[in-house]
């Protein structure tokens, strides 16, 4: 497939992986320091949403002193509009397994876990088969590294790294206070690297082709390519690997249905961008680009003019109200208030100024919530209410 747009397709993630054994045996013979440097110079940032530099993450865990450490692959993929991680695990599982083992070698971990969301239960048998084959090879090359699948059971918040640890420890998935951070105190209180499935797949590319191949893609602050999960009002929903840094206008040209009113970038916890801001919005990590730049876990939902933005926001808020772990006040009560609030405005029980109070509340949630869930409710809330205020009222 080719494209005339600025949209640059890439094809690394799903490229065949017959050579994973070679990549593995080659890289576990490199020094941890060398591997970390390679990652750092690639400027790979986490693909799970937060965008933390992966090389630095591994470095911090490598420096932590402990007999026991863990590598965890975050396959909880619960963000509405995201479906790329499942695809990676079902199509190129060995890349992820290899990356985990290399990470284990770098930080000094002998155990890895894949936290797989309960909704993907059907994936388990295949993945276990792959793990069996992988571990067999590890034994052959005398690499002491084991990988287990840990199943989630239907809780979006367990994608948050510390909630995920709690969940694996057999508890309620309530996020922990940070600090301490996972690099020093993660699963079972041990130093832990936790990476998104896609992040790990990219490290495979980097270890195979070298940092430069990766670095040369994308733009400053947002290097490399990324999988985008495209859904909503689009003629071609699906998963696409694109270079970072593209403008949203180009994206909509390619994927829109000609009537795109707004795009939700980054899922329910991301931002809604209205048509008038498409051209000034670049897709990548925070940094000074032209206009705004948005981090994204890769979810791109398109809405055409037939869609009511009130309904969209209503749906998101209901999602957060249910999926909040409920422990902290701003998120637990805030989500209920935002949801009830917009409904009350819509029904005329509260006047339009109440929306401003709710916007301030959303801001408070962003400042004070304990974890990323509560903190990011304001993203979609404010961007929708500010850009589509009339739709909220009438």
């Amino acid at each position: 497939m080719t494209t005339n747009y600025q949209l640059k397709r890439a094809d690394f993630i799903f490229k065949n992986e017959n050579d994973w054994e070679e990549v593995l045996s080659k890289n576990i013979n490199r020094s941890p320091q060398e591997l970390i440097n390679e990652l750092i110079s690639s400027e790979l940032k986490g693909r799970g949403g937060a965008g933390f530099p992966t090389g630095l993450k591994w470095k911090l865990s490598a420096e932590a002193v402990d007999e026991t450490k863990y590598v965890i692959c975050n396959a909880d993929e619960g963000e509405p509009g995201t479906f790329k991680d499942r695809e990676i695990l079902s199509r190129v599982p060995f890349k992820v397994l290899t990356a985990m083992a290399v990470c284990g070698h770098v930080i000094g971990a002998k155990e890895g876990y894949i936290y797989l969301r309960g909704e993907y239960f059907f994936l388990q048998p295949e993945l276990n088969k792959a793990i069996g084959e992988f571990e067999y090879y590890c034994k052959e090359i005398n690499l002491d590294f084991k990988i287990r699948i840990f199943m989630g059971s239907g809780a979006y918040i367990c994608g948050e790294e510390t909630a995920l640890f709690e969940s694996m420890e057999g508890k309620r998935g309530e996020p922990r206070n940070k600090p301490p951070y996972p690099s020093s105190c993660g699963y079972m209180g041990k130093p832990t690297v936790i990476n998104n499935v896609e992040t790990l797949a990219h490290t495979f590319t980097i270890f195979k082709y070298g940092a430069k191949r990766f670095y040369d893609l994308g733009v400053q602050y947002s290097r490399g390519s990324k999988l985008f999960s495209v859904s909503g009002d689009t003629p071609k929903p699906g998963i696409y690997e694109l270079e970072l840094g593209m403008s949203l206008a180009d994206f909509v040209d390619e994927f829109g249905d000609g009537d795109t009113k707004a795009v939700q970038v980054g899922g329910a916890s991301g931002f809604l961008v209205p048509r008038k801001r498409f051209s000034e919005t670049a897709i990548g990590f925070q940094g000074k680009l032209t206009g705004i730049s948005l981090p994204t876990g890769g979810s791109m939902m398109l809405f055409n003019s037939s869609r009511s933005m009130f309904n969209v926001l209503d749906n998101y808020l209901e999602f957060f109200r249910e999926e909040s772990c409920g422990q902290c006040t701003p998120c637990r009560v805030g989500c209920q208030q935002l949801l009830k609030g917009i409904k009350a405005v819509k029904r005329g029980e509260k006047n339009a100024q109440y929306l401003d109070k709710l916007l301030r509340l959303a801001e408070t949630m962003q400042y004070t919530a304990k974890c990323g869930l509560g903190q990011s409710v304001a993203n979609s809330f404010s961007s929708i209410v500010e850009n589509f205020r009339e739709e909220m009222i009438y």
Partner: protein
């Protein structure tokens, strides 16, 4: 030691030890940051978010209770951003809360109410969520009322029940807007492993967990002229009550308390300390008997170590958690129940009263005693031995209701017959006190000499360590106790059920071999009981303990067996410790219960 670090709080530079949280640093420098989920006794949760503060340079606010200081941090605790956010959070809590203060038991002593009043939350802009919630109130327990509509979900109770008590009767269930504090399968509190210890009440910032109060019932009884209302006061009440009535923690108000009780209209004001001394006679004798049966008679039926039985929270705990160890419990009733049984027999006879007309009230630092008084087996007098149990807090409420200016009261003495006590009875109120009192008497019974500790103060069993150990070597005993010669009596003391669990597990595993163990359900012993004034904290409990030991030192008699009224009751009524009458009135049996 790591070097101190420097931060600024509201522009003022402070030097603190590394690892100090922002909250602790602020408190050290006299800056108050409001908190709700934080409690000194518990691990940090960081979930209420009212303690948020601004760190210059960071967009998001930081929970002061959960964040360690870092070199160079500039903390603002009262910036506009902080104030607005905090106000929002309090408003949010109130929107979910059945804020019906005038009808709330905690009105006037509620952390949420205090915060709302500090921040002058006068309007309710947010939508009231209460009508949409299916809140329920659990009033089935004789000790505790749990009202979900008053709960702010700070999880202090859950942490208390798990960390201090190791009972885990409470849990957080569900998530999101449905999240709530509840029990296994949302059963009532009296239908689960709850020990009624009331520690969750003491640690709850709101009216969501309170004691079941019997104030009106007691007023009714007092008003009923056909009734003779006797009241007993537990040792720990006299060092706690003052806190509810304007005194500093650690104030001893024994004489004023007696005066107040008389003014309230009780017909006789007597002292649980008396039955505490009696307990020592019974329990001490029981211990020595058991020792003899085990050491001399090699009776396999008789179990050592013997465990004390005066803490009903502990009793319910062992019934649930270690039902196979009930034989280890002393068969002595708690002092409250001994008193109750005697009030309607011995006292009634001596005063020539119809026991049916006696109403027996007790003032306790404890909510488990409410449950205990309700136990079906506690009817050995032929009537219900104790009719109403009030906590220290409830007594304070009655004193206020009666318009008594407590500070101005002249000290008065307890009434006779069951009102005399010794220092040994008083220290029952502190962890280690029963042990100390028992050793003072048992050692002397066996050897004819004072226990070999300076000034009778058995230091190893005092203090706030969770598990304390002591051993006393018996040398040159009197002839009848010759078999104890050279025996090293090994004792342990545990307070807080989580420590009781440690000791019990060590017994089960065979790691330890004690002869005698004192168990108290509550941290610090009864002085930290679930019915004591709120707030509680390690410092407050330490002060109450100091007061108890001061009270002991000030007593002319400090050994239970010297209590003249105890001597008299054996002469006139009971005959001898472990005698037939004792068995009937002062001893009891236990019920194995389900752990799950």
């Amino acid at each position: 030691m790591a070097k101190n670090i420097k931060i600024t709080i509201n522009g003022v530079t402070v030097e603190i030890e590394p690892g100090t949280t922002i909250l602790e640093a602020a408190r050290q420098t006299g800056v108050i940051i409001p908190t709700l989920c934080y409690h000194k006794d518990l691990c940090v949760a960081g979930n209420c978010r009212v303690c948020v503060t601004e760190i210059v340079g960071q967009k998001r606010l930081t929970a002061a209770c959960a964040t360690p200081c870092e070199e160079g941090m500039e903390v603002l605790t009262n910036s506009l951003k902080v104030r607005n956010s905090r106000k929002h959070i309090i408003e949010l809590l109130l929107s979910e809360h059945n804020a019906d203060c005038t009808r709330c038991y905690k009105n006037g002593n509620c952390e949420l109410q205090l915060l709302a009043s500090e921040y002058k939350i006068m309007t309710q802009d947010f939508i009231r969520l209460v009508p949409f919630k299916k809140y329920s109130i659990d009033m089935f327990s004789p000790s505790i009322i749990k009202d979900d509509s008053k709960c702010i979900r700070c999880q202090r109770c859950v942490r208390t029940c798990a960390e201090l008590q190791g009972v885990n009767a409470l849990t957080v269930a569900h998530k999101g807007d449905q999240m709530k504090i509840t029990t296994f399968f949302e059963k009532t509190m009296n239908d689960v492993v709850c020990t009624n210890c009331g520690q969750c009440i003491n640690h709850c910032p709101t009216g969501a967990l309170v004691e079941k109060n019997y104030i009106e019932e007691v007023w009714d009884a007092i008003a009923d002229k056909t009734r003779h209302v006797v009241v007993q006061t537990a040792p720990a009440v006299r060092v706690g009550l003052g806190e509810e009535l304007g005194f500093e923690p650690g104030s001893r108000v024994t004489g004023k308390m007696v005066a107040a009780l008389k003014r309230l209209g009780f017909d006789a004001v007597m002292d649980t300390d008396f039955t505490a001394d009696l307990t020592i006679m019974e329990e001490g004798t029981e211990l020595l008997t058991r020792l003899k049966k085990v050491l001399v008679d090699r009776d396999e039926e008789v179990k050592l170590p013997m465990a004390t039985s005066c803490s009903p929270g502990w009793i319910k705990y062992i019934e649930h958690m270690y039902p196979d160890y009930l034989d280890h419990l002393s068969t002595c009733k708690s002092p409250q129940q001994m008193f109750g049984a005697l009030a309607k027999t011995y006292y009634a006879k001596a005063r020539n009263l119809d026991p049916e007309k006696i109403v027996s009230v007790s003032i306790m630092p404890c909510t488990a005693k409410k449950f205990e008084a309700n136990r079906p087996e506690m009817h050995d007098s032929g009537y219900r031995d104790v009719d109403y149990v009030l906590t220290t807090r409830e007594l304070a409420i009655m004193i206020k209701q009666a318009g008594i200016d407590f500070m101005k009261l002249e000290d008065m003495h307890y009434d006779r017959l069951m009102g005399e006590s010794t220092g040994a009875g008083v220290i029952f109120g502190a962890t280690g006190g029963v042990m100390e009192a028992a050793l003072r008497t048992a050692y002397e019974l066996v050897t004819g000499r004072d226990v070999p500790f300076e000034n009778l103060n058995i230091a190893p069993v005092r203090g706030m360590d969770g598990v304390k150990e002591a051993s006393v070597k018996i040398e040159n005993p009197l002839k009848e106790w010759a078999f104890l010669d050279g025996v090293e009596l090994k004792c342990a003391v545990a307070h807080g059920l989580v420590n009781a669990k440690k000791v019990m597990d060590s017994i089960r595993s065979g790691e330890t071999s004690y002869h005698f163990i004192e168990f108290m359900a509550c941290p610090g012993g009864c002085l930290g009981g679930g019915g004591q004034p709120i707030p509680t904290s390690p410092e407050i409990r330490r002060k109450r303990a100091e007061a108890i030991y001061a009270e002991d030192e000030g007593m002319p008699l400090r050994k239970s067996h010297l209590n003249p009224e105890v001597i008299k009751i054996y002469k006139d009524f009971l005959d001898k410790p472990l005698g037939e009458k004792s068995h009937q009135l002062l001893h009891t049996k236990y019920t194995a219960r389900e752990r799950f």
